[in-house]
């Protein structure tokens, strides 16, 4: 064989290692691939059509067989045809794509929530149970998982090609995406938004585990305190409870059950309390003063890290039972807890 061993090896590698599709490992992947196949079909059809027209005319009307051109002005019918048919196909694509978009970006209500914090150049995952991971994420199969993501510095983008999902991770703003893994295995996690020097090193591994394995993993890798417990300590050590004490006469509103409720603000607007609202009202309190309260809360901008904010939010989400009892409990606990708040920013 005259073929060079390097090229031979390359061809073998090509035939064995190259795929046209990434693995389908989430419930969304088959939908994405179906649309992709449709679009590839559209492209190939379009290309063949244009190619066939070009080749046919080039052969039939080349100068040697058709020396004198016949002038044709145009045809309204044909113009209408190639306006309407592409338009129709593009509109189908639009509707199909829009449905898929809404499917990917509207999480089901029963999904579990995991927080992702992006920073140059690592991914931090925070499970509500207190498991922390860096450049890795363990998720169960068969269960919708919502990711609530935020960046500490610049734009990043969270992409899992095998799940066919991606979402920009933005500084100062939560963004969400969800998926439901179907097949256990390890998958790529990429940062796809250029974020500086080590952009291409901001990668990780998504490990999808069967529900049983996931349970084992959860128990084996917990840090001991859940996000809510961390948040509880932070709540006390930042002195939040001095105003948000839950008393009727307190200077700040009672926060029990506030998550998910609708609040009336002093400026007259009504808001739904979600993660984004809670985060912003800690950082920019004067913008979100509950009706009946004075704008006295100081800003915590620069004093709490994004992780700390996540802890606080998780804590507030659990606050739907008797408030004061919990609060006494926390105060006493937090006095002993040595590192009072992992989320506090060192000055």
């Amino acid at each position: 064989m005259g073929i060079s061993p390097v090229i031979w090896q390359f061809l073998v590698k090509w035939l064995t290692a190259s795929a046209l599709f990434p693995r389908e490992a989430s419930t969304i992947a088959p939908y994405m691939d179906a649309l992709y196949v449709f679009l590839v079909g559209m492209t190939i059809t379009g290309l063949l059509l244009v190619g066939a027209i070009l080749v046919t005319f080039s052969i039939r009307y080349r100068k040697s067989v058709h020396p004198v051109a016949t002038q044709v002005e145009g045809s309204t019918l044909l113009e209408a045809t190639w306006t309407i048919i592409p338009l129709a196909i593009f509109l189908i694509t639009f509707v199909w794509g829009a449905l898929l978009y809404f499917r990917i970006y509207n999480p089901p209500v029963n999904s579990m929530n995991i927080y992702i914090v992006g920073k140059q150049w690592m991914w931090k995952a925070e499970h509500p149970g207190g498991q922390h991971e860096i450049n890795a994420l363990h998720v169960p199969t068969g269960q919708p998982v919502q990711l609530t993501m935020i960046s500490q510095d610049v734009f990043h983008s969270f992409s899992i090609p095998e799940f066919r999902i991606k979402r920009e991770v933005i500084p100062g703003r939560y963004s969400t995406v969800w998926f439901q893994a179907t097949t256990p295995g390890d998958y790529h996690l990429f940062c796809t938004q250029y974020c500086g020097t080590k952009h291409s090193a901001m990668i990780g591994t998504i490990t999808a585990l069967s529900p049983d394995d996931y349970k084992k993993w959860t128990q084996g890798s917990t840090s001991g305190t859940s996000l809510a417990q961390n948040g509880e300590r932070l709540f006390a050590s930042m002195g939040c409870n001095s105003c948000h004490s839950g008393n009727a006469a307190a200077r700040g509103p009672n926060l029990a059950g506030v998550y998910g409720s609708r609040l009336q603000l002093t400026n007259g607007s009504q808001v739904l309390v979600n993660e984004a609202y809670l985060r912003d009202s800690i950082l920019n309190p004067s913008q979100h003063v509950t009706a009946g309260y004075a704008p006295i809360m100081p800003t915590y901008q620069g004093q709490i890290s994004e992780d700390g904010l996540i802890d606080l939010i998780e804590y507030l989400k659990t606050l739907n039972t008797n408030y004061r009892v919990q609060q006494t409990l926390t105060t006493s606990q937090s006095d002993q807890a040595a590192p009072p708040a992992s989320g506090m920013v060192k000055p």
């Binding site: 649309l35 070009l54 080039s58 970006y105 991606k166 920009e168 933005i170 500086g196 952009h199």
Partner: protein
């Protein structure tokens, strides 16, 4: 002198004067004055076009060198050729130079500058001094870019995403921003000059619907230049101010909004894509018509589709931000508009294809490039529909799919069109023919090299390989090797024209006034043209692309002076 009898039965329309007697006209815009100053202070649109042609070729090869280095680094999955910072500078410089210093001015500033006044039957653009000024602005912008490069480069990516560009990088962002700002004004002035010229300088009888489609395409592109570029300018100014003062409208920790920058940036940078491609479409219209000896099928449809692209082009910018947490409903609107903007391009492609019907087709080099354009632009355009489709965009955006898509449009489309136009009008600009068989070879090499480079990137993109990655997982290597191999071939394909076109300046056959037997006004005057283009201002008494008029006209229309 040229004869006007078409040679029947042969496979070419090239019709050169008898080489033993032919000469380049003694008086022309090149021989009119001598010395460097006569070029640097010229008001002649043709000389300015030549200045532009030299400078954008220079920057094209600098940008191309960076592309070569990128492909070389990506030959292996490991980051082994250069450090990450250096790699990031490579793709930033590649993007900045190719977009702002090559693609945006490519066809308009060279071919457009040279041809628009002649096609309209005018002696010059409306504002020759502003035209010269815009070349100087371009040179200043280019020099600043090179300065930033020499001082250590810049690694923001050509998109200057905030807050990365404003607060997290220590490279020469402000210098590069200034360069883009200045080069932007060059583009604004070019567009302004074209619009005024097209409105006010048409010769008698040159109605709007007798203008060549090349002019229509430039008109549409100029609208985008004039209205879009200032928004980029202000976005760039705000980025520079934010870097210098430290407070800004784009910094979320100080209450600013990083998405505002995205909106301002893409408000220009999406229309910029049409600034780049529309003039190329204009070239293709001229070439297809000439080499099939037919009026463009559906002239009005092609003309209006250019304007439609320009208008719709302003209202689709948010499709660059579908995954950035914009409201789902605004995403819907922008996706729909994106689908609409794809239609005029489809109309153009079918009209070009049907122009061939019942024509008398020959396959000279410009036509080969034009065929390449149609094929590659079809792929580039249709893969754009993937990205405009909301759901699909989630998986494909920010991957190599998007890299492949816009290289199909910009390199496969625009660069093919540019080369097609340069070959087509080379005899007009220089008075000499390029070597035909060598240039056909170059066209084929370019086409093969291009497809080998960028087709694998579509697959890479769907597999999920992110763009701007210095290192990548090993399973992507095979496709990257193919891509790098293609880039090598592509590089050869681009170097060939430079060499043989330079050769032809001295040794090429004398072209005569109208080697292609084309109908445009520019072909009815001598090659190279006189400084004043026409001795007397012509009167347009026929439609554009009227080959019957060309065949039946009795006297040579070459109004020249000795």
């Amino acid at each position: 002198m040229t004869t006007h009898n078409l040679v029947r039965g042969s496979n070419t329309i090239i019709n050169l004067p008898d080489q033993s007697t032919a000469e380049i006209p003694k008086r022309n815009f090149i021989s009119n004055e001598h010395g460097l100053l006569s070029w640097l202070l010229t008001g002649d649109h043709k000389r300015i076009a030549v200045l532009y042609l030299i400078s954008i070729t220079f920057f094209f090869f600098i940008g191309g060198a960076f592309a070569g280095l990128i492909r070389l680094e990506l030959l292996t999955p490991q980051p082994d050729l250069v450090a990450s910072d250096t790699y990031n500078k490579f793709f930033t410089m590649h993007g900045v130079i190719m977009i702002f210093l090559f693609l945006v001015p490519s066809v308009p500033a060279t071919l457009g500058n040279f041809l628009i006044p002649i096609m309209l039957g005018a002696r010059d653009l409306a504002f020759p001094k502003i035209n010269l000024l815009s070349w100087y602005l371009y040179v200043i912008g280019g020099t600043l870019t090179l300065t930033a490069l020499v001082l250590g480069g810049v690694d923001t990516g050509w998109t200057f995403t905030t807050p990365l560009s404003t607060h997290y990088l220590n490279t020469h962002v402000v210098t590069t921003a200034t360069a883009i700002f200045v080069a932007g004004f060059s583009s604004i002035f070019t567009g302004l000059n074209f619009i005024v010229t097209i409105h006010r300088m048409r010769c008698p009888g040159m109605t709007w619907f007798r203008m060549p489609l090349f002019v229509w395409a430039h008109y549409a592109a100029s609208i985008l230049m004039v209205l879009g570029t200032p928004v980029l300018a202000i976005a760039i100014v705000l980025v520079a101010l934010e870097r210098l003062i430290g407070i800004g409208v784009f910094d979320p920790t100080k209450g600013g909004d990083p998405l505002l920058f995205q909106h301002l940036f893409w408000f220009y940078s999406h229309p910029a894509v049409y600034i780049m491609i529309l003039p190329g479409m204009g070239v293709i219209s001229e070439v297809i018509s000439t080499f099939s000896r037919k009026r463009i099928f559906g002239y009005t449809a092609v003309a209006f589709s250019s304007v439609a692209i320009a208008l719709f082009g302003f209202f689709v910018w948010e499709h660059h931000m579908f995954i950035m947490g914009v409201s789902n409903y605004s995403a819907l609107v922008f996706s729909l508009l994106t689908m609409l903007v794809a239609v005029p391009s489809a109309i153009k492609i079918f009209n070009w294809a049907f122009t061939l019907q019942k024509g008398s087709i020959t396959f000279e080099t410009p036509m080969l490039y034009a065929f390449g354009f149609i094929g590659l632009f079809t792929i580039g355009g249709l893969t754009g529909v993937f990205l405009g489709s909301l759901g699909m965009d989630i998986h494909l955006t920010e991957t190599y799919f998007i890299v492949a898509h816009f290289h199909f449009v910009m390199v496969g489309g625009m660069l093919m069109a540019f080369l097609s136009g340069v070959h087509f009008w080379w005899p007009k600009m220089t008075g000499r023919m390029y070597p035909e068989s060598l240039s056909k070879l170059a066209a084929v090499v370019t086409f093969i090299g291009f497809n080998l480079t960028f087709l694998p990137q579509f697959i890479l993109g769907y597999l999920g390989m992110p763009r701007r990655y210095h290192a990548y997982p090993p399973e992507f290597q095979v496709l990257n090797v193919l891509s790098t191999a293609g880039a090598t071939i592509l590089g050869v394909g681009y170097l060939m024209p430079v060499l043989y076109l330079a050769w032809s300046l001295k040794y090429g056959a004398i072209a005569g006034a109208n080697p292609w037997q084309a109908t445009g006004l520019e072909w009815q005057i001598q090659s190279p043209p006189l400084t004043e283009n026409f001795i007397e201002i012509p009167i347009m008494d026929h439609e554009a692309y009227d080959y019957d008029w060309l065949e039946h006209k009795t006297q040579p229309e070459v109004t020249t002076v000795g």
